[in-house]
């Protein structure tokens, strides 16, 4: 029993140390970071955060990221919900092949799609828009959403559907007013995963944007290489990218475990 606790505590410390260091550095001045090795900030400063929150070329990065992540989550859920219902309730010609084909897209390295995406979105005039990034992230988020939602939907007994149809519900009305409320925790979990994978992806997001829709992660890399090394601001920007994720985790914390098993436990 003791060894278990030690392992868990050790692991949590291992997880927290790099994060603590990031926070610690974000409250220091650059002179202190480079001059002395200190476990706590000696001259506590909020300047690094002030730089980010007052400069539009910085904080618009967060806004851009949040816009395309939200768009992606909405699109993924909207198309995946009916499809997952079809997979969980019906057999139809080619269903297994279709499901496997969808999953292969989750396995495709984004680097493979870099160039074709760039050309595709440039040619239809969507380059450097939020919707382009949102659509590109559908490549891996839609298959994942279908996969998770299908798991949750298969847990709802089929008799519910049949009873509703006998009671004279039309399919859309049944789906929206009865079925969706039944699987709302599954929908929450799916939204969480869409958010997560879209929020953390950088390669495609950076390739498909230049100015107007540039994600915060890309702004960080550019500014750092341009201005030498502004460690303090870099650490502050990094710390701020963790905030949305931490908030989202907090909201889904009770469904997290089931969600990570993709509804299949």
């Amino acid at each position: 029993m003791k060894a278990r606790h030690l392992l868990l505590i050790g692991y949590v410390i291992f997880l927290m140390l790099p994060l603590y260091w990031l926070l610690n550095m974000s409250f220091k001045t650059n002179e202190e970071i480079l001059g002395a090795f200190t476990l706590f900030p000696n001259e506590f400063t909020l300047d690094n955060y002030r730089v980010i929150l007052t400069d539009p070329s910085w904080y618009m990065g967060y806004v851009n990221s949040i816009i395309y992540v939200t768009l992606n989550t909405v699109i993924s859920l909207a198309v995946a919900l009916p499809a997952a219902y079809a997979f969980s309730r019906y057999t139809f010609v080619g269903d297994k092949h279709l499901f496997f084909w969808l999953l292969t897209n989750r396995m495709a390295p984004p680097a493979v799609f870099l160039l074709p995406f760039f050309q595709l979105y440039s040619s239809i005039g969507l380059f450097d828009t939020h919707i382009a990034v949102a659509l590109a992230h559908c490549l891996f988020n839609v298959p994942l959403s279908v996969w998770i939602l299908e798991g949750f939907m298969s847990g709802v007994p089929k008799e519910i559907d049949e009873t509703a149809f006998l009671d004279g519900y039309s399919f859309p009305r049944f789906f929206l007013t009865i079925f969706i409320p039944l699987i709302r925790s599954g929908i929450g979990v799916t939204a969480f995963f869409c958010f997560m994978f879209s929020w953390v992806e950088l390669l495609l997001a950076r390739t498909l944007t230049s100015v107007n829709a540039k994600p915060i992660a890309a702004i960080m890399t550019r500014t750092v290489s341009a201005s030498g090394m502004d460690w303090g601001v870099l650490a502050a920007a990094g710390a701020l990218t963790i905030v949305p994720g931490a908030l989202v985790i907090w909201f889904v914390r009770n469904h997290l475990a089931k969600g990570f098993a993709l509804g299949r436990v």
């Binding site: 550095m25 499809a83 057999t91 279709l98 390295p109 953390v200």
Partner: protein, 290 residues
């Protein structure tokens, strides 16, 4: 659950098919198209057949990158899967501490991948980083920017930091799904902890472990941002993995043909391995019932 045969269900999956076709088939066809042509500009292109494929398969640098990638991915699986299971077994099962542990564990998963690189870049520096300073204090001459071994170790530890939580959370939810009656029966039989793990918990974890192995393999095989930020693929080429090689070829040098051939080979390798994992784990699970 018995499913009804109904081909009208295709109407329900149509939106997904259209959307994914737009974002997968069109680009994939473009890649196939490039991979068999030598392209100078839009008007001047020559059909070259399998030449790019031959060039890519025989390229020394790419073979080395593939080898590095395989070593990396298998090392990741060997560390993260057992560690993840161990952490999941150690987690409190319910109550306030359980939710808190879950939230803490999930935190690294929600950090943008390049920021993960940044965090470790800061943390690992031998002069200003806590991790680097601690390792140096142990008397080890450590610098991930100069020494290939240190760079490798840092990238490995970074990935363990980043992704072991995923394995742990998957296993945790698998463990929660085991009915208490199983454990009570085991206690009456006087089973040891190891016997409980081997004959009750591990078999029940098969499904989630399959997901964990597949996800970890796929994602580590596509790793790009984290080593790119941390080491830039260096020192030398020691931490340059496949995605980075491909990105250099496609966007850096703009060698469309070879890059496209590379992409397709890359994709096929991933599919092959996932299929192998999937079938072997399914075979293992079908062994004699306990």
């Amino acid at each position: 659950m018995t499913k009804t045969q109904n081909n009208r269900a295709w109407f329900l999956v149509l939106p997904v098919v259209v959307l994914v076709a737009f974002s997968a088939i069109v680009p994939l066809m473009t890649v196939v198209n490039y991979s068999v042509q030598d392209i100078f500009d839009i008007e001047n292109r020559v059909f070259v057949g399998s030449e790019w494929y031959r060039e890519i398969l025989l390229d020394d640098g790419l073979q080395k990158a593939l080898l590095r990638q395989l070593v990396f991915s298998f090392a990741i699986l060997l560390i993260e899967i057992p560690l993840g299971i161990a952490v999941a077994l150690a987690m409190p099962s319910r109550g306030r501490w359980a939710s808190l542990t879950l939230v803490v564990l999930a935190l690294p998963l929600l950090i943008p991948w390049n920021v993960v690189g940044t965090i470790w870049q800061i943390f690992g520096r031998a002069d200003i980083g806590l991790g680097g300073v601690l390792v140096t204090m142990l008397g080890i001459d450590y610098n991930y920017a100069v020494n290939p071994f240190d760079a490798w170790a840092t990238v490995l530890v970074m990935d363990v930091w980043h992704w072991t939580s995923l394995v742990a959370l998957l296993c945790f939810s698998g463990l929660r799904a085991i009915p208490d009656a199983y454990f009570q029966a085991a206690r009456i039989d006087g089973a040891s902890n190891w016997a409980v793990f081997r004959h009750i918990q591990l078999p029940k974890l098969k499904n989630v472990l399959l997901i964990a192995v597949l996800l970890r393999f796929m994602d580590s095989f596509m790793i790009y941002s984290e080593p790119f930020v941390l080491t830039g693929g260096g020192p030398g080429n020691s931490t340059t993995f496949l995605s980075q090689t491909l990105a250099r070829l496609a966007v850096g040098q703009f060698d469309l043909g070879p890059a496209a051939a590379f992409s397709l080979i890359y994709f096929l390798i991933i599919l092959l391995f996932c299929w192998l994992f999937y079938t072997t784990m399914m075979q293992l699970g079908r062994g004699p019932r306990v």
